[in-house]
């Protein structure tokens, strides 16, 4: 329950569209919420505005050019998202970013989902100028130390989204800007590999990175998505599983779920490998002479019925699971009570 009163609605025009926004929201947020694209890299709806990428410039009638992510909406405000001057500033910013950026879009994990691509497409870039601008073939080493995501400083646009995410959302503060000038980078304390830092591997930074600088390992583009709930702790975070054929190929936090509002911890985001693990049981097993042997379901049910059938009442006990669903717990206790005649039913809540 958010105890803040519902915000007042403000009316303003952006380009030719007349829109409404909540009091206190920024011009950029208002535009994006109303489906009006304004180029940006360092903005993220979950984070406080930083105003560092300077791409979201807009023209305010009577005020001139401002950074829209730091400008609150006001009643009757008239906003233009593009002027010749803004367009040329944006193009220069983009070209400078691209000049140092690897050109391997097709094989990049963020391809088609990249905010730099989106901004570049919008600004329109000139190939010959790009070639001239290319400063160096700087190839910085990748940090592959974390088992779940790779850090590629060559693709970093220094928007600071990961730094702010880690500090304010995750609360860990594992990464920050290090060095200065052309050498500025995002790194850990002492420049150690991320796996040796205080990073908790939640992947929140990678989930928000606008480019391919932080990319999830072993993720594939899903063919469909299924909304469900994390199988681990009692928080019950909403997850959206990315599925391809019969495999889970990615997980993202469900932004519509009121518990986590899109956030996940390391287990919820990366802890799904067990589902297809080679050690998963795939057949019932019966122990014969101290060894497990695979048997059919029919034989397994016969064995279970024979073993339980002669040990009803007080001789029987059932431990239900606090990890499986309500339906399982209900069926289990109903079985114990109505078929086995025993109230010896418990689960792991006490532990």
């Amino acid at each position: 329950m958010d105890d803040r009163p519902p915000a007042k609605r403000i009316r303003l025009t952006i380009d030719s569209a007349s829109i409404e926004a909540a009091e206190g929201s920024t011009v950029l947020a208002a535009a994006l919420e109303n489906g009006i694209y304004v180029p940006h890299l360092c903005h993220h709806p979950d984070l406080e505005p930083a105003g560092v990428c300077r791409l979201c410039l807009v023209d305010l009638a009577g005020k001139g050019i401002v950074v829209s992510c730091k400008t609150p909406v006001a009643e009757g405000m008239a906003v233009r998202t593009e002027t010749p001057e803004i367009a040329s500033i944006r193009r220069v910013i983009i070209e400078l970013l691209l000049a140092n950026h690897p050109w391997d879009c097709l094989s990049c994990g963020r391809n088609t989902d990249c905010k730099l691509q989106q901004a570049a497409r919008h600004a329109g870039v000139d190939e010959s100028r790009l070639k001239r601008l290319r400063r160096t073939d700087r190839v910085l080493p990748l940090d592959r130390s974390n088992p779940f995501f790779t850090r590629d400083p060559n693709k970093c646009v220094l928007c600071g989204v990961c730094v702010r995410t880690c500090a304010s959302i995750q609360g860990t503060g594992a990464i920050d800007f290090i060095r200065r000038g052309f050498d500025t980078a995002v790194g850990t304390l002492g420049g150690k590999p991320i796996a040796e830092s205080s990073c908790e591997s939640c992947g929140e930074c990678a989930a928000r990175c606008p480019t391919g600088a932080l990319s999830i390992k072993e993720s594939e583009v899903p063919a469909r998505e299924v909304k469900t709930v994390c199988p681990y702790c009692g928080c019950g975070c909403g997850v959206v599983l990315g599925v391809r054929m019969d495999r889970i190929v990615g997980v993202r936090g469900d932004r519509e779920n009121p518990v986590n509002r899109g956030r996940l911890c390391v287990k919820g985001r990366f802890g799904h490998a067990f589902v297809r693990h080679k050690d998963r049981l795939r057949m019932p097993l019966l122990k014969r002479n101290g060894k497990f042997e695979e048997i059919s379901w029919d034989d397994a049910l016969d064995a279970a019925a024979a073993g339980f059938g002669m040990r009803r009442g007080d001789a029987f006990a059932l431990l239900a699971s606090a990890k499986s669903a309500n339906e399982d717990a209900y069926a289990a206790q109903k079985f114990a009570r109505s078929v086995m005649g025993s109230n010896n039913v418990d689960h792991c809540a006490r532990l």
Partner: protein, 547 residues
């Protein structure tokens, strides 16, 4: 959660997780929230950013202590003494909410009596925290409203667990911090569906919806619905079941998705009990340490392979959905149970899909009556939701408490020391903790190479001063022994543990920590005291085999 059920009439979290950020004061006790409930920890930090005062009480200097206005590093197992001390200050300084107490509660005399017999000085002596700090915490909690209490296993896993919870609910009632947004008493449940398993009656003394099995009226309802006769005697609890098995009284056991060989306190005892069974069926995802002892092992579908519902720690009922088909011939737990039930002649187990079970449960549990899969499509619903047009109940006890007369009951609380205290033979106190990278006994997380890399192995976290006495270096293999067993693991030096306290998780089969822990039970809730036991730490002698 026997404590809260007695005082408020319901044992669940009173307020939603989304409420936490709006509190002006948060009292987090016995919960290493950052590790065990990471998303709740986010909300706590958000509250602090908005200016809330955070009070953290924990024997270990946990990460959350960094954000706290007051950190109370209490001796393990002294929670009740701390809370009694705080309440004494609140009562003495006139900080209690008399109006709330008069209107909404009864039995204040009981608490007043407990408090009269307990001074702040005593609280300071028992907890090892200066009285001034306890008093400051009490003043903050009583004056910065709304104030919310969050607690977890650190409070309940003691022989005095129920007393601890009663003390917390008294504290909230005393200051009127119940039934309002961002207030309340909020137990954080460890596993995804602990709340749901309780709601569904997977407990020895209650039927679905917490109706007592020894209440003939309640039994009649279920006997009619299930077309059966039911025993009216409450069953044995988790720990009692293992004792009865060892004594030969329980002969057959059906273990669904649990791994007591690692999770049970005094795990050696639990293992012996399972080994003595005539017939043990274990139903799980993999061959767990418990499944190894089984006569019959049944392959269960993972949660991502089946439909159903979970009820989270804040009573939110949410849909889970099959994303992928089950591996091999694995089946959902409910389906396997129902097939066995039908083989044994059970009636009313012919469900075609999970939704039919939910509908039946909802028809018998008043708090679920208004919930259906259709409604859950639009998002989770917090119980109680008694009717189809009821929106659910984010905050409990707003108008009345769930007890028959609508009033909350103050409880008398008494401090009792832990069952086992350190002595010359076992000079250190061991407490169990959790790692963010693993879950419970690791049956799922240990199957992830990545998580194994991040959380490689068990560690004995200990203060450098204690390690120097052994002497043991950081990373050195040591043997930890208690009166019940021993394990080996590597030392991790850290001043998060004060001198005298060591901590371990129980995520690793290689170092089964629970062979050490004490199965002494809280007399009411029957929760074993895994949070405190006396141990000795020694260097491993060369050539000695591991346990």
């Amino acid at each position: 959660m026997a404590g809260l059920a007695a005082t408020f009439g319901s044992g669940a979290m009173t307020n939603p997780i989304s409420d936490v950020a709006g509190a002006r004061c948060l009292f987090v006790i016995g919960s290493n929230t950052t590790q065990a409930h990471p998303i709740v920890a986010h909300e706590i930090r958000e509250a602090v950013r908005r200016g809330a005062a955070l009070i953290v009480a924990n024997p270990k200097r946990i990460d959350l202590a960094r954000h706290a206005s007051i950190f109370l590093q209490i001796k393990p197992g002294t929670d009740a003494a701390l809370i009694l001390g705080m309440m004494r200050v609140i009562a003495d300084e006139g900080l209690k909410d008399t109006d709330f107490i008069n209107r909404r509660c009864e039995g204040y005399e009981k608490l007043a009596e407990s408090l009269a017999a307990f001074s702040l000085e005593e609280a300071a002596r028992i907890t090892g925290v200066p009285g001034r700090q306890i008093a400051d915490a009490a003043r903050l909690y009583a004056s910065m409203k709304p104030a919310s209490i969050l607690y977890a296993m650190g409070v309940t896993q003691h022989t005095c667990g129920t007393d601890n919870v009663l003390a917390l609910s008294d504290l909230a009632l005393l200051t009127g911090n119940v039934g309002k947004p961002s207030s309340g008493v909020n137990p954080l449940r460890g596993q995804n569906n602990v709340q749901g398993a309780c709601d569904m009656g997977a407990l020895p003394n209650v039927l679905p919806g917490y109706r007592r099995v020894d209440d003939p009226e309640a039994r009649r309802i279920f006997e009619a619905a299930w077309e059966c006769d039911m025993p009216g005697k409450p069953g044995l609890t988790h720990a009692e079941i293992f004792d009865a098995a060892l004594a030969g009284k329980i002969k057959a056991m059906y273990v669904i998705g649990e791994n007591p060989v690692l999770s049970e306190a005094d795990a050696n005892h639990a293992k012996k009990a399972l080994e003595s069974l005539e017939f043990l069926v274990v139903q799980d995802l993999t061959i767990t340490e418990t499944a190894k002892l089984a006569h019959l092992v049944l392959p269960a579908a993972a949660n991502a392979e089946r439909d159903g519902t979970f009820t989270n720690t804040e009573r939110r009922i949410q849909r889970i959905r099959a994303a992928v088909p089950p591996q091999g011939q694995a089946k959902p737990d409910w389906r396997i149970t129902c097939m066995i039930a039908e083989k044994l002649g059970g009636r009313g187990f012919g469900y075609g899909e999970a939704r039919e079970i939910f509908d039946e449960a909802a028809s018998l549990i008043p708090a679920y009556a208004g919930v259906s899969y259709e409604r859950l499509e639009a998002g989770g619903i917090q119980w109680p939701c008694p009717a189809k047009d009821h929106p659910g109940t984010p905050i409990l006890h707003v108008e009345r408490f769930s007890r028959p007369n609508g009033k909350a009951a103050f409880a008398a609380v008494r401090y009792r020391p832990p069952a086992e205290t350190p002595d010359s033979e076992y000079p250190l106190v061991l407490t169990t903790d959790r790692s963010i990278f693993h879950f419970h006994t690791g049956t799922m997380t240990r199957k992830s190479d990545g998580l194994n890399l991040l959380g490689r192995e068990e560690a004995v976290v200990m203060n450098p001063a204690d390690a120097a006495r052994i002497p043991a270096a950081d990373g050195e293999m040591v043997r930890v022994s208690s009166r019940r067993g021993e394990v080996q693991a590597r030392v991790k030096l850290s001043d998060t543990c004060p001198a005298g306290l060591v901590s371990m998780t129980f995520h690793f089969a290689e170092a089964p920590t629970n062979v050490l822990t004490n199965s002494a039970l809280d007399p009411v809730a029957k929760i074993p005291e895994t949070k405190v036991c006396a141990v000795r730490v020694e260097r491993t002698q060369p050539g000695r085999a591991g346990t």
